[in-house]
Amino acid sequence: MSLSNSYKRLLLAITMMVALSACQSTPTTLYQQVGEQAGLERLVDAFIKQIGQDEVVFPYFKQTNVSHFRAGFITHMCDVLDGPCTYEGDNMVQIHTGMKINEHDFNHTVDLLIAAMNEVRLSHSLQNKILARLAPLRAQIIKI
């Protein structure tokens, strides 16, 4: 097999992969794809469970009122994922100031969110689209 043929096959495979998944009739917003309010609640509950079992991230939540965090995070995610909500709680800077979250602990929390998304069986591509929406918030969260 010559390499130029391998290249063509690879390109074809990628094109087909992209084209095929574009054929599926997907709901318009990420909020709908997650499963709207009920889906978000399942995801956030799974995330809270992950945090509760984690010795690195749990200490950051020692002072946190879990039901307040749960309601705020669900509304925030609903807003970020183009759902019919407007998040009006404390902004990311206000919430995380003084926590001094470092790069390691931030990425570890991302790992926990991915574990939660796996637990509620969100597809790989939907997970990535959600992460892409959340990633720009990092600058308002770490090292403050």
């Binding site: 998944s21 790069e103 390691h104 990425n107 990535n128």
Partner: protein, 273 residues
Amino acid sequence: MKWVSFLATLLFCNTALAGGKLLATPGVSQIEGSAGGGIVPWAQLAGYASEDEWSIGAFCSRGNVKNYRLDVCGVQGNLFNRIELSYAEQEFEVPALNTRIEQKVSGVKVRLYGDIVYSDWPQLSVGIQHKSLKDGKVAKLLGAGSTRGDDIYLAASKLHLGALNGYNWFWNITARYSEANQTGLLGFGAKHADKSWLLEASSAVFLSREVALGVEFREKPNNLGLGESHWRDIFIAWFPNKSLNVTAAWLDLGSIAGVDQQTGWYVSITGYF
């Protein structure tokens, strides 16, 4: 024996000390010892150390093409995700001539800017690879000017989350200033040949968190007038956890020392501690 002890170390050392990066984001180990793809150094630094951590990695790779074989083992250190130090030993077998060429490569890479996932602009690093041949007999015979040389490179990398219909897309571009013939294995420079800027590039799609499928290209000079070809490969990289990477590739290295059609396979394993 080297392989056996290496694998044993990996099996028993399954917990990463520094796990501050996201899975797969350090890339893999390239043949000159730097973090990269298989043949191109990338802007990422080896290992999972974030800015408050350090890490150590070790790797072995084998490239097997029609008339030659390259074996490499090396170590990499990451200091606070700012500086990468690497050292690699290469053994290049030429069965037809019953010859083995040995080269040592010491590398330093400095991250200048950014993070491949989070920064608005691509991560940017500058690096140097100092190479020296143990025995320059073959290099001299072919007309190389020197048996040691330094490559300097500038690399830019970016991972775009969900960019390809939800799949993560990675790319890297590297500009290398070098006079190395066949990456230094056939010496450095020649009469009437100077250092030149060479373009290298990689791109990959992550099919899952653990598996990436990609391609690479490495421009090569033709100092010796032996028709040295640009290198290409297609690779699949597997990251089962933050301690281990296994990469396999299909190589097209073109003409080496006047012998055409050097295609074959490549396999590489890296452990992070």
